[in-house]
Assembly symmetry: C2
Homo-oligomer: 370 residues x 2
């Protein structure tokens, strides 16, 4: 039944291998972010329980810890109302690690950690790109926080991490390389400053899909993090980080109507199925709410989802072509490539996995919520 | 724990009563759209099982049918791969009604209905605003479709329906009134054309929150449909359809950090918690990803969610004020009013209901998926 979220296993495997090769060739630990798919079955392919992972919610942390993952980094600053959940996750995943980026958060964590049975692993977040959260590499607060964590009785200070989210705006290879270098240099600078202040970082962790795949040596970091590379999406294709043919996630949809005078095809995938993400709107080519493929996944050149309502999508052609009946007739199936895989996947509780023979070979579940 | 989706019961009840009063005063049947909240417990307040409802997915239809609702309109055109689900819903809800807006869809439905045990109720969708789906009131295809449905052996033709979605762009009372009148006139015109062709419409159904609440007499329709009025949101407030103080839905979030030099407050509600909807971007005041209230729901003037990542929200002030520590300190709770309630609510599987004493009095569940 449509809409449904499809995962192309062959493309997914290829994407996973590509990032693994980068990490292996540079002898970095790869700590994949499982937040795009949030699926234990998917993670077996690119983030097995024998290695470290990154998560975006405590719901993910608890699920992966229950499944045998022991080294889990929760890469979002904690609020105090989440402290009560830490002990249960720690008991399953001894290397469960949380982050902080302020003296206030460090103080709260240090206080709370004293109540825990096991030592709490903590990393500090560093800001390398003026994008979101984190302490500046040169800031005295970074040193003060690291010293406080290192000195705390029941805390294991693991090191520092950053995420160059600004790389999502780098639309040339050169810009991605520059951002990748900036990311490494800035986090390495933070590590040097801490070392000079007497604090050693076991982990110096960085990464985003564009900077991880940039053609640079990731000097200065020993752990690479990235997430959306496992499926890719139209935003990544628009940045030139992948080709549209690499995109492993798609939404299966049915044609439910037409507006002939407007050359519109109406499908049953609206923003509820595709998400409201319009992340290509600022790119050279605006893909609206997704690029359109036939039911087998072959891109239909120039056709895209130009508008959405809750359960309706409107497909039109960039040159206002008339939709051919043979492709867009009532009841025909189509696949929509997601603008942002993390946002599209979030609209589902499961994936229909397409095997090498083009048929559904498995259904994988997903952890939603917090 | 944050983020969480809150529903203010007092405001919710008041909003529900407002629409009921409109329908009652004009002696129209109210067929609320349950797609915003998708919750059986919420529906008890504004769409009890004794009356008709509108749904946006077959998952909703099945859930509400199982709970005793007998008159359910599925207001999205069907794809053939959903036909197999109709019989089970019909067996619970005899007046379960589907829609079509093309000869192709009518033909497919007529064919399939012949296999059903019970007669299938069908309505035709009419386009009143060039917005999305539906047949034009004057179109020969509308007459042909109505005749085909009326003549079909196992089909009960119930009438016509429309939705003036273009009203979401009507930012003055006058424009909303004009659109409301256009909606009524155009659907009435369709009914007249059908009557002249020998087909009677038992139901002439229209509505959207702005046109339903417009200060007009809804002449020409006998059934009013609307959905988002139950909670309202920033889009509706921006159109002047409600006040921001009427908005009954909010996202509870925690402050997890700051970027002092930018006057940013970082919270744990990103687009995963708020949705990617930026529906006020084209309005006079862009509310970003939501307006910010204190933990009790009091609006904090000028503060809004200016940017989001997956699990991070950035709050800033329109005049770049420095966030006061007393309100925005680490760990403080805030509430975010949603841009588009349907999209925000869709990110959750349950609501925390705030009773008259300001405390959580209930947890209501939600039907997601298709």
């Amino acid at each position: 039944m449509t809409p449904a979220c499809l995962l192309d296993l062959a493309k997914f495997r290829q994407n996973c291998q590509r990032m693994k090769d980068v990490a292996d060739s540079e002898k970095m630990t790869l700590r994949p972010h499982v937040k795009t798919l949030k699926s234990l079955q998917a993670a077996e392919y690119y983030a097995p329980a024998s290695g470290p992972i990154t998560v975006s919610t405590l719901a993910e942390a608890a699920t992966f810890a229950s499944a045998g993952y022991t080294d889990i980094l929760y890469a979002v600053g904690l609020s105090p109302n989440k402290f009560g959940q830490l002990a249960a996750i720690q008991s399953l995943a001894p290397n469960f690690t949380v982050i902080a980026d302020s003296q206030a958060a460090v103080n709260a964590l240090v206080d709370y950690a004293s109540e825990l049975e096991l030592p709490l692993s903590v990393m500090l977040e560093v800001d390398v790109d003026d994008h979101r959260a984190g302490l500046l590499p040169e800031s005295p607060e970074l040193v003060a926080c690291a010293r406080a964590l290192s000195a705390a009785a029941n805390i294991h200070f693991r090191g520092i991490m950053t995420h160059a989210g600004a790389s999502y705006d780098c639309d040339t290879k050169a810009a991605q390389q520059a951002m990748g270098q900036q990311e490494c240099e800035r986090i390495a600078k933070a590590a040097t400053n801490l070392l000079q202040a007497g604090v050693t970082c076991e982990l110096v962790s960085a990464g985003s899909t564009p900077t991880a795949l940039a053609d640079i040596e990731h000097t200065g970091i020993n752990e690479l993090r990235a997430g959306v590379y496992a499926t890719f999406d139209c935003v990544m294709a628009g940045l030139g980080v992948c080709e549209t043919t690499d995109i492993a996630l798609s939404v299966l949809t049915s044609v439910i109507g037409h507006q002939g005078d407007k050359n519109w095809v109406i499908v049953d995938a609206g923003w509820m199925a595709l998400s409201r993400d319009q992340g290509t709107a600022s790119q050279q080519q605006d893909c609206g709410y997704g690029l359109v493929c036939d039911e087998h996944g072959k891109l239909l050149d120039g056709w895209y989802v130009s508008a959405t309502n809750q359960e309706h999508g409107i497909i039109s052609h960039r040159d206002n072509l008339t939709p051919p009946e043979s492709v867009f007739g009532y009841g025909r199936l189509l696949r929509i490539l997601p603008i942002h895989a993390c946002a599209t996947a979030a609209q589902y509780s499961k994936y229909h996995v397409i095997g090498d023979d083009g048929n559904i070979t498995a259904i994988w579940s997903r952890v939603n919520g917090w």
